[in-house]
Amino acid sequence: MKAEYNFIANIIEKNSTVLDVGCDDGTLMEFLRKNKNVNIRGIEISKEKVQICIAKGLTVIEGNAELDLKQFPKNSFDYVVLGQTLQAFINPEIVIKELLRVGKKAIVTIPNFGNWKVRLDLLFKGTMPITSSLPHEWYNTPNIHMCTIKDFVRFSETINFKIVKSLALINKNISNISKSNIFVKNLFGELGIFLIENK
């Protein structure tokens, strides 16, 4: 189980309805169902992963978040979760808008490209960074729109959504991101976790 799942679970209120976009093998879904008693659905693009979810008794539809979120009416879910996949979409802006249409709130996690390891990699090696959480080469990475924690905060200003809560994951510990500490969190954070809603 990924380190951030506990923190995502902490954000989500009990007995709410949740859509996990890109639910992978359903680990988070199972965790939330068990600990938060949520009514949870998933969308997953990989047939194999969908099969794994079905075997776990999870309600999942095979689909692509960029194309298939539009079938859900406005405010279908209390929360929509997008875990570490925003950077893989062709148009993250549309995806964010869709998340906030389908969900009353959205929880978005991003691998932080502003992390010092990433910065050092590029600085010293002069090649595109490869780390344990970003293991791909530049030519085969699915992550075509990497961003930093700072980028995401600026993104919220440009496309006009509200960040209700922002957390940084550093060495399995979680801490709040604020205006005053964002430089540090952006340098050491491995992952940014954002609870967002429409303004």
């Binding site: 099969q51 075997a55 079938q71 859900f72």
Partner: protein, 376 residues
């Protein structure tokens, strides 16, 4: 047709008003069951058969002496596990395996109905079959499952009886028969009615059978059940028991011989008029229109949990048409799962050994059954 003492039949006393306007009553509904109904009567699965299926889902069909049409999926420890579930399947009305159909005698005229039989619809079929629940004293089915026309019946059943099934599995189907679907069915019907022996549907009383026409109908339909890739891989241009082309119209190619065989065995077990009636029922199926253009409204009243499956190489009921059902369900916040199964076996995939499909079906049913037991 021969005497069929192996067929269980329920006589439906209650009048049934058909979509065509006629009312039928005291009509036979032939059915078969597998497994045992548990004490709580909450482990029953109603399986709906496709166009040419019948109530003999699994094991040896006592009439044809061949394996039941869904032997891969239904049986002990299989996807629909008869050690666990009580499986019921009825022959659709209009069919020819014991249920009220065009080969039956009209009690008033004492003549075989033929084309005087009322035109029936998918709606009529499920309205007839719901009587089985009363007969077995089942308040709520654990599941309704079916592929192709069976899937259409699943959709219609849940729409008609929103609180009579906990789960529903429509497979490789559609909510509305497409122009292409209708076109292929019409081709089949024309083949039958063009056969001189069809005799305006009165072949039974004239001791003939429109075998040629029915066989051609089956051959044409059979092609639509397979994929181009599947056909190419299985047959290619392979020749049938010969080293060279014979420059004639015999079956030179294996695919020709295969289709002729499929046609010839089909006529032994299927009634030509039933073929006309059932294909007509499929063509008339339009759940979207029934709900004034909004499919979601068909399912507004139901809490049934859906699981929909389609197949990559199915061009008869393609993935998009199955997805349209998913979309309609999501639009009203219904509980629906969906997966498209990778298979090059075409529409027929749901009848064949396709492990991803069989596993998904089993996992969905077994997990849902556990879940529903936890709740109760």
């Amino acid at each position: 047709m021969n005497i069929r003492e192996n067929i269980k039949t329920l006589i439906i006393e209650k009048p049934l008003k058909l979509d065509c306007g006629q009312t039928i009553s005291k009509f036979p509904l032939a059915y078969e069951t597998y497994g045992k109904l548990n004490e709580n009567k909450d482990n029953a699965i109603l399986v709906f058969h496709a166009l040419t299926g019948d109530q003999f889902v699994t094991g040896v069909n006592p009439i044809t002496k061949k394996d039941g049409w869904w032997s891969y999926a239904v049986g002990p420890k299989k996807s629909i596990d008869t050690d666990k579930y009580f499986v019921i399947c009825a022959n659709v009305i209009g069919g020819c395996m014991g249920s009220f159909g065009p080969s039956h005698k009209n009690p008033e005229t004492k003549k075989i109905y033929g084309t005087d039989f009322p035109v029936i619809t998918i709606n009529d079929m499920v309205n007839a079959q719901v009587n089985l629940l009363d007969f077995f004293n089942i308040k709520k089915l654990f599941s309704v499952v079916g592929g192709s026309m069976g899937g259409m019946q699943v959709l219609q059943f849940v729409s008609n009886f929103p609180d009579k099934a906990k789960t529903a599995v429509p497979i490789a189907c559609t909510s509305s028969h497409s122009a292409q679907n209708i076109a292929f069915n019409e081709l089949g019907r024309q083949a039958i009615t063009a056969d001189h022996n069809w005799m305006d549907g009165k072949y039974n009383s004239k001791n003939t059978l429109p075998d040629k026409g029915l066989a051609v109908a089956r051959m044409a339909a059979h092609i639509t059940y397979l994929s181009k890739k599947g056909l190419q891989e299985k047959f290619g241009r392979k020749l049938q028991e010969r080293d060279d082309l014979k420059f004639g119209f015999d079956a030179d190619f294996q695919i020709e011989s295969y289709l002729r065989y499929q046609g010839s065995v089909f006529v032994d077990r299927f009634d030509a008029n039933s073929y006309l009636y059932i294909t007509r029922a499929m063509d008339y199926f339009d759940l979207v229109k029934q709900f004034n253009g909004n499919l979601s409204n068909a399912f507004k009243k139901t809490k049934t949990k859906f699981f929909i499956m389609s197949f990559t190489s199915d061009w008869l009921y393609p993935t998009q048409e199955n997805k349209d059902i998913v979309i309609a369900l999501n639009a009203i916040g219904a509980n629906v799962g969906f997966v498209e199964i990778e298979s090059d076996k075409g529409h027929d995939s749901f009848l064949l050994e396709v492990p991803d499909f069989l596993n998904a079906l089993k996992n969905f049913l077994d997990k849902s059954f556990l879940e529903s037991n936890d709740e109760s």
